[in-house]
């Protein structure tokens, strides 16, 4: 605990000293990507390091070391996650059907993501993040782990959709979702824009090397969009096969086909819970929550740990990809999440049921 507090103090000091790098903020902005398994550590997919800490890029398949710090922004104390399935029922959204499955969800991906969000609340996996907090009027307010974090699902087949969506279009859809759901508490709410097989975001389609990303709407980056919406770009990760997690935990062709959906979605929603401001620095004010000096968030630091792409089942190293049991009693593959408290306070990837023996 003492160590963590000192880290926070150091972080705040570092911000004061090195705020300049962040104040060049508006020059370059991109969302916070989750690299695919082949692009872990790719500097092009990470924001610039916050500071000068000697932390190299993470090694593929291994956790990215050093603990996260608090950067002064808010966290989602009582998270509510809203799912938008944009265009899933529009003609051309899928190139196939499956007997017994809905035409707007022939692989069961929407059903899997919905079930996962409904089931993640109250799990030890989500609970591993309650150590993080926001500071309000000098008081630390910790993230909670309620049983129900599912805000709702919206199958939007009305607003026009197309392939190669832009980030701005996703942000605009997130704003429409805020209106659709009647969300008033943006502080604790996040919107996931899930895309069907044939209508995906341009960078994902273009092979940039990520599976998904999350961001925070600010007028500088998303002109015309309501400020302060935490949202996730969730492409149809099955399109990228094993590089975005297909069969990365469960070996069976069908049993592991949808693995990537809960792994990638879990990565993004938990990053949003601990860093809903997405590391933004606006007019010198840091909106970011928790990440490390290399700008890696709780998900980034543990992405694809133990996974060798295309090899199933994965190695079972501590902190590696694994199935967790949701609050519905069913199994969901996830990646672990960075825990400052693990390994006796040194920090490690945790929560996926394969933690280090020493958890502090």
């Amino acid at each position: 605990m003492t160590k963590r507090l000192s880290l926070v103090a150091t972080a705040i000091l570092a911000l004061a000293l090195y705020g300049g790098s962040a104040s060049a903020d508006q020059a370059v902005h991109h969302p916070l990507y989750m690299p695919d398994a082949a692009h872990v550590g790719d500097p092009a997919l990470q924001p610039p390091p916050v500071c000068c800490a000697p932390v190299g890029p993470p090694v593929a398949g291994e956790p990215a070391p050093v603990n996260m710090a608090y950067f002064g922004g808010h966290v989602q104390v009582k998270p509510k996650i809203y799912l938008v399935f944009w265009g899933w029922g529009v003609p051309g959204a899928f190139d196939h059907t499956t007997p017994g499955m809905p035409a707007n969800d022939p692989d069961g991906a929407a059903a899997r993501m919905t079930a996962f969000i409904k089931a993640m609340g109250g799990t030890a996996w989500a609970g591993s993040q309650t150590q993080y907090y926001e500071t309000v009027n000098g008081q630390n307010v910790h993230i909670q782990n309620p049983t129900n974090v599912f805000g709702g699902a919206w199958y939007d087949d009305t607003n026009p959709v197309h392939d190669n969506l832009s980030g701005l279009e996703l942000a605009q859809e997130a704003q429409r979702a805020v209106a659709h759901f009647g969300i008033t508490d943006l502080h604790d709410s996040q919107v996931v824009i899930a895309q069907p097989q044939k209508f995906n975001e341009a960078g994902f389609n273009g092979g940039v090397g990520y599976c998904a990303w999350h961001d925070y709407t600010q007028p500088q980056y998303y002109p015309g969009v309501q400020a302060g919406i935490s949202f996730t770009n969730m492409p149809y990760v099955l399109n990228m096969g094993t590089s975005c997690g297909q069969n990365s935990v469960n070996a069976g062709y069908y049993a592991g086909r949808l693995d990537g959906f809960s792994i990638v979605l879990g990565h993004e929603v938990e990053e949003t819970i601990t860093d809903p401001g997405a590391e933004d620095v606006i007019d010198g004010v840091n909106l970011g929550g928790w990440y490390d000096y290399a700008a890696y968030e709780n998900g980034d630091k543990c992405a694809w740990v133990g996974y060798t792409e295309g090899v199933a089942p994965p190695s079972t190293v501590p902190g590696g990809l694994a199935n967790i049991t949701g609050n519905d009693g069913k199994q969901y593959p996830v990646q672990s999440l960075w825990s400052n408290e693990s390994a006796g306070g040194a920090g490690y990837c945790a929560g996926a049921g394969d933690d280090l023996p020493v958890t502090g």
Binding site: P99, G100, Y253, A255
Partner: protein, 303 residues
């Protein structure tokens, strides 16, 4: 209340006496016998409305569905190994991975780990797990001269069959067979047999995947012939055993439908009598993943 229930019972009896409905081509069908067309129903005397009719379903017959192991290419991104109920000439016929094979412990050669053959047609399939899945993996050894093959030694073929059931992957069963390769033979049809798990008996499957793994001492053996030479026979039924009738009041989308009780070709259900006025009741029969055209009947609720 008592009077209403008695009235409903009488109507159920009438429904049971209704003539069987011939099965419409292409799926289950249903008709509504109660209420009768334009019938007036007193809500005072009938707090519950009896709805009844008859339905026709296909009778499941035992059969066998043959799936061929097919492959469009060899060593490209478009190999597309798959199972299909149709056969033909395959571009990936005889594919195996010689150059990328990995030598395992003891000098064995793992023929590029596993190859999945998911079904692309032939679904849904109602599985009969009382019978075994049988099939053949036709293995080839490279011919190095006339009558002389490169491969010698013992080869192991492992097949794992997985089903897509209710959106989840479920293990059906597996088998492992060995075959002795000799220098004088290039083709080895390896028969396999899988006893399906009993939990999937009569289950309506959305997909099947056959995972084939070949391992042995020689990289030159273990190529899989397609074009009709490798296949599996899945014991199945011609129609699903899952039969149902759903009833919906004033809603043709069946968003809040209630299930009817089936008895032979007759069905019946009692629903709270709706408010005074004109109404439409809808009924729809389903068998497995097939849903028939809805039937409808107008009636009027009076005081």
């Amino acid at each position: 209340m008592r009077k209403g229930i008695q009235a409903a019972a009488a109507l159920f009896g009438a429904a049971a006496a209704a003539a069987a409905v011939a099965l419409a081509a292409g799926g289950p069908s249903t008709t509504i016998s109660t209420p009768t067309s334009g019938q007036k129903v007193s809500i005072h005397h009938n707090p519950y409305l009896a709805v009844a009719g008859s339905a026709a379903f296909a009778t499941p017959q035992a059969q066998t569905t043959r799936f061929y192991l097919r492959r469009d290419g060899c060593g490209t991104a478009n190999d597309n190994p798959h199972l299909s109920v149709t056969t033909g000439t395959d571009g990936g016929d005889g594919c195996g991975l010689v150059l990328t094979s990995v030598a395992g412990p003891g000098g064995t050669v793992d023929q590029a780990a596993s190859v999945d053959y998911p079904s692309v047609d032939g679904m849904p399939l109602t599985l009969d797990s009382s019978r075994t899945v049988t099939g053949t993996i036709d293995l080839n050894s490279i011919s190095v001269a006339d009558g002389v093959a490169a491969g010698t030694g013992l080869l192991t073929v492992t097949v794992d069959l997985e089903a897509l059931y209710q959106g989840n992957g479920v293990e059906v069963g597996s088998d492992s067979e060995t075959v002795l390769l000799t220098p004088t033979q290039t083709e080895y049809p390896v028969a396999f047999s899988i006893q399906p798990t009993g939990t999937l008996d009569r289950a309506d499957l959305s997909g099947l995947d056959l995972r084939v793994h070949v391992e042995g001492p020689f990289v030159a053996g273990g190529f899989i012939a397609n074009s009709g030479k490798s296949w599996l026979d899945a014991p199945s039924w011609s129609a699903s055993f899952a039969q149902s009738v759903a009833v919906s009041l004033d809603d043709p989308t069946f968003a809040s439908a209630v299930p009817a009780r089936l008895s032979g070709s007759s069905w019946s259900v009692a629903v709270p009598t709706p408010a005074i006025g004109k109404h439409v009741v809808y009924a729809q029969a389903s068998q497995g993943f097939d849903t028939g055209a809805p039937a409808s009947r107008s009636f009027t609720v009076t005081r």
